[in-house]
């Protein structure tokens, strides 16, 4: 028989609430800490997990709208094509200017690196409300972009003949690099633009994206070496689906 962990008496009644997601955040963290050292509670959680998991599939089934899939897949395809484009370059030798022996980190490597992948998830969560159409004036449509900067708020104001990225609380690009705007069209690699920009000291920026976005499915921003690139070398820091 397993020996209860320390403080078992004070935590043993929390198993049900934990599995139902009913513990307040601080109490949840405390219970998880206790769980790590208490085989009795771990066993209880394991036994009752099946009942909690069953609740996941107990709801009446309803069909999601097709537009939801369109929005999600627009972002997914943009990411995948950026990944593919950067993956080809990742096989090339590292430029001479780089520190010898230090491999160039490709977008693919970045993408698959667990710690950073997790970070991108956390950031994505912070970027909730992605691609929500905010307003639809006669000649302006505004969508909220997803961003990898946790505190940043970025929107894309779309007009017939030009558009504007409006950023708040956006960190400046890393030293020696600059933000570059890309236009992603269906089934094509992201096309570079000459729009290179940085932020003001307060993290704000208004970036003009000239021309019509007709046929464009997403406006992307990556940070690139000064002078810009012909192919993205990093995953996007901003993704604004043009829906």
């Amino acid at each position: 028989m397993s020996t209860p962990g320390p403080d078992h008496q004070s935590w043993s009644d929390a198993v049900g609430a934990y599995l139902l997601g009913a513990l307040p955040p601080e109490e949840r963290a405390g219970f998880e800490s206790h769980l790590a050292g208490c085989p009795v509670c771990r066993s209880d959680v394991g036994d009752l997990q099946v009942a909690a998991d069953a609740l996941l599939v107990s709801v009446p089934l309803i069909t999601p709208p097709a537009a939801l899939k369109d929005r999600i897949m627009t972002v997914v395809r943009s990411d995948a094509e950026l990944l593919a484009a950067a993956g080809e370059r990742a096989d090339r030798p590292a430029p001479a200017a780089r520190v010898p022996g230090r491999p160039r980190r490709s977008f693919a490597a970045w993408f698959l690196r667990p710690g950073l992948a997790l970070a991108s998830v956390l950031v994505l969560v912070a970027g909730a409300g992605l691609a929500v159409v905010l307003s639809g004036g006669e000649d302006t449509r505004t969508v909220i972009a997803s961003t990898q900067a946790p505190a940043a708020e970025v929107r894309l104001e779309i007009r017939d003949d030009h558009s504007t990225l409006v950023a708040r609380n956006m960190p400046a690009p890393p030293s020696g690099r600059i933000y570059q705007v890309w236009l992603k069209r269906p089934d094509r690699a992201p096309a570079p633009t000459s729009v290179l920009w940085s932020t003001r000291e307060d993290g704000s920026a208004e970036v003009a994206v000239p021309g019509s976005l007709e046929g464009v499915e997403a406006v992307l921003v990556t940070d690139e070496p000064e002078g810009g690139s012909q192919q993205p070398t990093k995953p996007p820091v901003i993704t604004a689906p043009v829906v």
């Binding site: 009644d13 929390a14 198993v15 049900g16 609430a17 599995l19 139902l20 997601g21 009913a22 513990l23 307040p24 036994d47 009752l48 099946v50 009942a51 909690a52 998991d53 069953a54 609740l55 996941l56 599939v57 107990s58 709801v59 009446p60 089934l61 309803i62 069909t63 999601p64 709208p65 939801l68 899939k69 929005r71 999600i72 897949m73 972002v75 997914v76 395809r77 990411d79 995948a80 990944l83 593919a84 693919a108 993408f111 698959l112 667990p114 992948a117 997790l118 991108s120 998830v121 994505l124 969560v125 909730a128 409300g129 992605l130 691609a131 929500v132 997803s146």
Partner: protein, 179 residues
């Protein structure tokens, strides 16, 4: 999931097709609003797309893992200020309007599975099913439920655990497959 891990959009699309209905249904059940449910599902799937490497077989089926993420995202949404007040106020009757017309065998099995679990939940003593509903689908903490029902927190926790134990017993091993 291996293909999704390697960043293949087509593989991800298959995952979406397979699980989006259950995900949207769960999110809608919790949020009570179509718009919030869409946001929750979008966040959850994009989270999964960008973190495919985090899925481990030992943690259960892809569906359980994926729906667990939807559940957490929905709870976060519910606890974000205004949603608690706004949900359930609109979109009533959406089930009927969005219910699938023609069901595939898989969908039929899932409808049956859902009905089995709901029956197990409904057979619980009402004070136990009530706290499970409020916590799991309502996103309320034990403290909030305690205040709401004017019942000590210890009693609320006890009802949660007892309810889950009875559900596990009612469902039995293998009666409900979450594959």
């Amino acid at each position: 999931m291996q293909l999704v891990r390697r960043g293949q959009a087509a593989a991800f699309e298959v995952i979406y097709e397979r699980h989006s209905q259950a995900a949207f249904s769960l999110a809608y059940r919790m949020a009570g609003s179509r718009g919030v449910a869409e946001d929750v599902v979008q966040e959850a799937f994009l989270n999964i797309w960008r973190s495919g490497a985090r899925y481990e077989r030992s943690r259960g089926s892809v569906r359980t893992w994926l729906l667990g993420i939807v559940h957490h995202r929905a709870i976060d949404a519910l606890r974000r200020s205004f949603v608690h007040e706004k949900r359930r106020a609109s979109d009533e009757g959406l089930e009927e309007t969005l219910e699938t017309g023609e069901r595939t065998d898989v969908e039929a099995a899932r409808h049956e599975e859902a009905a089995t679990v709901r029956a197990a939940l409904e057979h619980l003593p009402s004070e136990q099913s009530q706290v499970i509903e409020l916590a799991y689908f309502g996103g309320f903490t034990h403290t909030e439920i305690s205040d709401m029902l004017e019942t000590p927190i210890g009693t609320i926790k006890g009802r949660m655990r007892l309810g889950l134990e009875k559900m596990r017993h009612a469902l039995g091993s293998g009666q409900v497959s979450l594959g």
